[in-house]
């Protein structure tokens, strides 16, 4: 990706004269907890220009506090790193959050920021876990070796936060790698900032291009020396006793060994099914959708609007008709979708914060390599069960173009999103276990076959798994709740306009008679090939607008169990909703995006038809 050498102060709106204090740390070290503790409310969330990476920014006294995405180092290996890099390069002060039990890994980033010559203060977080792991850390010695203040903290319990606040003005440039000085000074003399100069030496091509400098080739040399400096510091500062509590180590091993790992995964999936599929999809949704949204809200809005626009007129239908912008759209979005989406994000945040996610990636890596992916692709797949649109965006974290294409195809075609799962479960559950199994087996078969075919057809090579297994932790409720809240709000913001648009489109199609015309055109295929009643075509057409509309459209029809199954399989497999089509085209380009879209119809009707003949 080409990045312009924009002026960061303008892109993220730092008023002139204000200093920027930037939070920097490895993934999952609790940066967001610090951000919230330091700033309280009024937080600005914006997308970093040209990326989907979110930037959190807030006033802090007279300064601006900025959170950055979690990274293992400053460079340009991926979007998160580019964003973090650009913000760090413009920082006046860096608060570096270090995960104390994981200091071995985190110190690399600390030393890199120190080498960049930016004033740093280190928050040594999760100190409460250090003892439990049989470690002791000499904080004073660490501070003097690094040459910057080090404050021990337990952020989730607010311990050390005040000390950290008081220490921010004492942030200073630490002890940088002395062997770098000469080379850095030569570049700095040529008008480069010291941080920029370091990244140029480390071969960051984007930064080099910005300054019309040739990218250096010293990355490896500098990295290795930095690593050995980190190891020397660790040897002096950290002592380990053998009395470590090992429950999480043992548990971590169980999670990655197939014999124990798959039962744990099944247990987790079952808990998720119970929580989302049963508790939320049935109990909660019954209240939110049927009672609150349909009875209270729905009747209220219909009688209110009915005073101005009569039933049967175009405007009346548009606003409060069967597919109305004020009836169907909010009732589905808030009554049905929102509770499901919240449930999914809760589960995902727990997996993320507990450290289970990378272990799951390790466990499934072997199966994924057969499909031309590696274990990391489990992340978009799981997210896909929440929302395919969002999952497609996260395919960016995959290492090569072919992996991104394979993952996008699998997501778009085979993964039903949370909205759809709710409806599917509702329709299949009454039919009994046999139909649920046939449904699952069919979708899994298509998933596997598609992956295998793409893996052998697409040119190039996929990347291998190389993933950090962070310590297992009990997730903190506050953090999980905060993550879930942010993600759910973002989802509603993204989905609401699309829902309204879909409602308008469907009403227009319905009112103008285009719907019945389309039905006539497609229904031979529906009736003779899929052996479904011609009304099912409506469900398919609605499925293009928003996938769960499609599945929900089958509710009202009088179908045999086999017909329900065929209808659900077809709807699951064909075209993702409008939102995900747009995102697929945006991420993969017009050509590939259109192929995926068209291909999904072929796959869906093919599989649906075959199934109809087999049942």
């Amino acid at each position: 990706m080409q990045r312009h050498c924009h002026n960061l102060a303008e892109t993220i709106e730092i008023p002139s004269g204000k200093r920027s204090i930037v939070l920097v740390g490895n993934p999952n070290v609790g940066k967001s907890v610090f951000f919230n503790e330091l700033t309280g409310r009024y937080v600005d969330v914006s997308n970093f220009p040209g990326t989907t990476v979110e930037i959190h920014r807030a006033q802090y006294g007279g300064d601006v506090l900025i959170d950055t995405p979690g990274v293992y180092g400053v460079s340009s290996f991926n979007d998160e790193e580019r964003v973090a890099r650009d913000i760090i390069l413009h920082a006046d002060t860096v608060i570096n959050i270090v995960d104390a039990p994981h200091i071995e890994r985190d110190l690399f980033l600390t030393l890199q920021v120190i080498d960049m010559g930016i004033p740093v203060i280190v928050a040594l977080n999760m100190m409460d876990e250090v003892q439990g792991r049989g470690m002791t850390i000499d904080v004073e010695r660490l501070s003097s070796l690094l040459g910057v203040p080090v404050i021990p903290t337990v952020a989730v319990e607010r311990k050390g936060i005040n000390e950290l606040k008081e220490a921010i003005p004492r942030a200073c440039r630490g002890n940088a790698d002395p062997e770098l000085e000469e080379k850095l000074n030569a570049l700095v003399a040529g008008q480069l900032g010291r941080g920029d100069a370091l990244l140029v030496l480390e071969g960051d091509e984007e930064v080099a291009r910005c300054h019309d400098q040739p990218a250096g080739n010293l990355r490896e040399e500098i990295y290795l020396r930095r690593r050995s400096r980190a190891n020397k510091i660790l040897a002096e500062v950290v002592s380990t006793t053998l009395l470590a509590k090992k429950w999480n180590k043992t548990m971590g091993q169980w999670m990655t060994r197939p014999l124990t790992g798959f039962p744990i995964l099944l247990l987790f999936l079952y808990a998720m099914y119970w929580f989302i599929g049963v508790f939320i999809a049935q109990t909660v949704v019954e209240m939110t959708e049927e009672l609150i949204m349909q009875e209270y809200y729905g009747e209220w809005v219909i009688s209110l609007i009915g005073r101005f626009f009569h039933e049967g007129t175009f405007l009346g239908e548009l606003l409060t008709g069967e597919f109305g912008v004020l009836t169907m759209a909010p009732i589905y979005l808030l009554g049905l979708l929102l509770p499901l989406v919240i449930g999914f994000y809760l589960a995902l945040s727990v997996m993320e914060d507990s450290g289970y996610l990378p272990r799951l990636a390790t466990l499934v890596d072997r199966a994924m390599t057969g499909l031309g992916l590696n274990g990391r692709a489990i992340i978009p797949v799981i997210l896909g069960f929440g929302c395919v649109t969002m999952a497609t965006i996260t395919t960016r974290l995959l290492g090569s173009k072919r992996e991104r294409i394979i993952a996008t195809v699998l997501l778009g075609i085979t993964i039903p999103c949370s909205a759809q799962i709710g409806v599917i479960v509702g329709l299949i559950a009454p039919l009994g276990m046999r139909y649920l199994l046939i449904y699952t087996a069919t979708i899994l078969l298509v998933f596997g076959l598609l992956g295998k075919v793409l893996n052998s057809v697409l040119p190039g090579e996929s990347t291998h798994l190389l993933i950090d297994l962070p310590p297992l932790r009990l997730p903190r409720i506050k953090n999980v709740a905060a993550k879930t809240y942010t993600k759910s709000v973002a989802f509603i913001k993204e989905a609401a306009p699309l829902f309204a648009l879909a409602a308008v489109l469907i009403t227009v199609l319905d009112y103008t008679g285009a719907m019945s015309w389309l039905q006539d055109v497609i229904s031979p295929l529906t009736v003779s090939w899929l052996q479904l009643p011609s009304e099912a075509t409506t469900a398919f057409i609605m499925g293009i607008m928003r996938r769960d509309f499609g599945a929900a459209g089958l509710y009202g029809l009088d179908l045999s169990p086999a017909q329900t199954l065929v209808g659900l399989v077809t709807i699951t497999l064909f075209v993702p909703c409008i939102a995900s089509i747009m995102v697929i085209i945006k991420e993969r380009g017009w050509k590939d995006g259109t192929y995926i879209w068209a291909g999904s119809f072929v796959v869906a009707f093919l599989v649906g038809g075959i199934l109809a003949r087999l049942l």
């Binding site: 293992y72 180092g73 460079s75 290996f77 039990p101 994981h102 071995e104 890994r105 690399f108 980033l109 792991r133 470690m135 990355r219 490896e220 990295y223 290795l224 930095r226 690593r227 980190a230 190891n231 380990t240 971590g252 091993q253 990655t256 060994r257 197939p258 990378p358 990636a361 390790t362 466990l363 890596d365 072997r366 390599t369 590696n374 274990g375 291998h464 798994l465 190389l466 993933i467 950090d468 297994l469 310590p471």
Partner: protein, 74 residues
């Protein structure tokens, strides 16, 4: 010299050569470079090899492990 995928669980080895430049850089950030002594903490059947160094654990896909040269460390 052997390859990382041939190492047995519990065995201590020194990393001799990591092939790809980006993989090498990423591994150094995680604390594992050429010359680092690591322990094989686990191996999934035909799947990733898990190596550990102190509290740090890394999972390495089998295909990559096959290309990482190691030698036995005492």
């Amino acid at each position: 010299m052997i390859m990382l995928d041939q190492v047995k669980r519990g065995q201590k080895v020194e990393i001799c050569r990591i092939p790809d430049e980006l993989v090498r850089a990423q591994a150094i950030r995680f604390g594992v470079g050429e010359g680092t002594v690591v322990t094989c903490a686990g191996k999934l059947p035909a799947g990733p090899v898990i190596i550990s160094k102190g509290n740090q654990e890394l999972a390495i896909g089998r295909g990559l492990a096959r290309k990482i040269a190691v030698k036995e460390a005492s």
